[in-house]
């Protein structure tokens, strides 16, 4: 029997992308089928990844570019393994310094003096 949990697929937009977008929630260790513009069949999710979030398709070294839509959307702020969740904790904008400190789950900005 296959003990790998069933998982939704992830959509790759451009053949040169190193991330794909989850079309449903992927449980940890689940096999994620890659659909869209791709020659890749699947990748194993290393952790739980929510719908609409990104999964790494390849290993991405620290400082290397993260590509979606065939366009650089950010820089890896640390090494990312295939199947890892790619988000604020490991991908930073080249233009917007503020967003890197936002809450990883809710997206809320860090609590500042205005709430004191």
């Amino acid at each position: 029997m296959n003990d790998v949990p069933k998982s939704p697929s992830a959509f790759q937009l451009n053949a040169s992308d190193n991330v794909a977008t989850l079309l449903g929630e992927a449980p940890a260790a689940s096999m994620v089928a890659i659909v869209g513009v791709t020659d890749r069949a699947e990748v194993v999710a290393r952790e739980k990844i929510a719908m609409g979030h990104k999964i790494a398709l390849t290993a991405i070294g620290e400082g290397e570019t993260i590509t979606k839509f065939g366009v650089v959307i950010g820089i890896a702020s640390r090494r990312i393994e295939p199947g890892e969740w790619v988000h604020l904790h490991n991908c930073r904008s080249q233009l917007d310094e503020r967003s890197g400190a936002f809450d990883l789950e809710t997206g809320a900005p860090p609590k500042g003096a205005e709430y004191a």
Partner: protein, 401 residues
């Protein structure tokens, strides 16, 4: 495919409308209740207006653009009587455009009830005249100007909702039509990509200038156009959100940049710049809500606007019908009475992107031919206008650089 021919309304200036609405315009917040009461329960009557007592060039240009919009057959202007904005002058401009128009001050007509009763009488006679004046004409794709706006974006917007609208825009422009999209603050990170899409060296200069202005604006307000809900929904950077938003512009060359209340100087695909210009008071925001952007697109002459919403929205728009597109199948199921088009079918593999774009184009033709969109059916006619500063547009050039 739709044969691309339907009947529309020919206006004295040669433009063609897909509706023959009567518009009630209030010239200050104090007159808005009376204006809304006049329109209440009256089919084909819509309301716009400006809340400020002190006038604003940008706001007056926008109200005049809407009062002489091809979807409008007659106008009633209602003022209180103290404000700067002059209802009789708006009515005069409307009459010069070949449409019937009336105006009055509430203070001269004796209060709420008598003003509402007078207003209802006036819109009845405006309706009769607009119907009698109506000249029907054949319309084709080349007579259409369509706007696109997105709001309540989620992970599906950049994957399905916006790209499907981009496909429909590609087909519309191929058929000689005009397409407009905006939200330059959601193009941050894409300067090279934008400039590479320019149809001419002038357009390239305009696109570069519009990008730089939007980027400087974002730096000045210390905020990129990306919100907690976007991060929670899986968008990590402004560059990523921008690419998803830019996808609604399809793949045709971009003819140039227009500003609010300017019409595209010729057919094809255009970007609208709604970002405030520098001004000593530094007032005005860009896109404080979705409705403002939609009204900007309608003021540019769009007879219809496509609104892409992943999370779901329940707005419509005054003056021109709104078609609501979602790339999220769950949103489509949850809000079917509000959603016109399910673009999520391209993610489930039910449709290709090209098939979905063609299907959306058919829906555009049906709504242009008079079929009400879902928001129209529900009676939606949202409108928003606030103070902003934009330099006086230079109509010949299409945009100042």
């Amino acid at each position: 495919m739709h044969d691309g021919k339907w009947q529309g309304f020919l206006r004295a200036d040669g433009r063609k409308g897909i509706r023959n609405h009567i518009l009630v315009v209030y010239t200050v917040e104090c007159a808005s209740f009376v204006a809304q009461e006049i329109a209440k329960g009256e089919p084909g009557v819509q309301v716009i207006g400006f809340p400020g007592c002190y006038d604003n060039d940008y706001a007056i240009r926008l109200m005049l653009a809407l009062a002489t919009h091809p979807n409008i057959g007659g106008v009633l202007c209602v003022g209180l009587g103290c404000e700067y904005t002059q209802p009789h002058r708006i009515a005069e401009t409307v009459r010069q455009s070949g449409r019937p128009a009336e105006a009055f001050f509430i203070q001269e007509k004796g209060g709420t009830r008598s003003s509402v009763a007078l207003g209802k009488e006036l819109i009845l006679s405006l309706r009769a005249q607009a119907d009698a004046d109506a000249v029907m004409t054949e319309m084709t794709w080349a007579d259409l100007t369509i706007g696109a706006e997105c709001g309540g974006s989620d992970g599906t917007s950049g994957l399905a909702g916006n790209p499907v609208v981009g496909k429909a825009f590609d087909r519309l422009v191929e058929r000689g039509g005009t397409a407009i999209f905006e939200e330059t603050v959601e193009m941050i990170g894409l300067r090279d990509l934008m400039v590479a899409r320019a149809a001419s060296p002038t357009a390239a200069q305009q696109l570069g200038a519009a990008y730089d202005k939007a980027f400087n604006y974002s730096k000045a307000v210390r905020q990129c156009s990306v919100a907690p809900g976007n991060f929670a929904g899986g968008l990590t950077t402004i560059e990523e959100k921008s690419m998803g938003a830019f996808a609604k512009g399809g793949s045709q060359p971009i003819e140039g940049v227009i500003r609010v209340s300017e019409r595209p100087p010729h057919r094809g695909l255009w970007i609208l710049d709604s970002v405030p210009d520098e001004h000593f008071m530094q007032f005005g925001y860009t896109n404080p809500n979705d409705t403002e952007g939609i009204m900007d697109l309608i003021a540019a002459g769009s007879q219809m606007v496509l609104f892409i919403t992943g999370r779901g929205s329940v707005i419509g728009s005054a003056v021109a019908p709104l078609i609501k597109v979602t790339g999220n199948e769950r949103t489509y199921r949850n809000m079917t009475e509000d959603m016109d088009f399910n673009a999520g079918r391209v993610l489930s593999g039910e449709l290709t992107m090209d098939q979905a774009g063609n299907e959306l184009l058919n829906l555009i033709a049906d709504v242009a031919a008079g079929e009400p969109s879902k928001p129209e059916r529900l009676g939606h006619r949202e409108f928003f206008l606030m103070y902003k500063h934009q330099d006086v547009p230079s109509l010949e050039a299409g945009c100042r650089v």
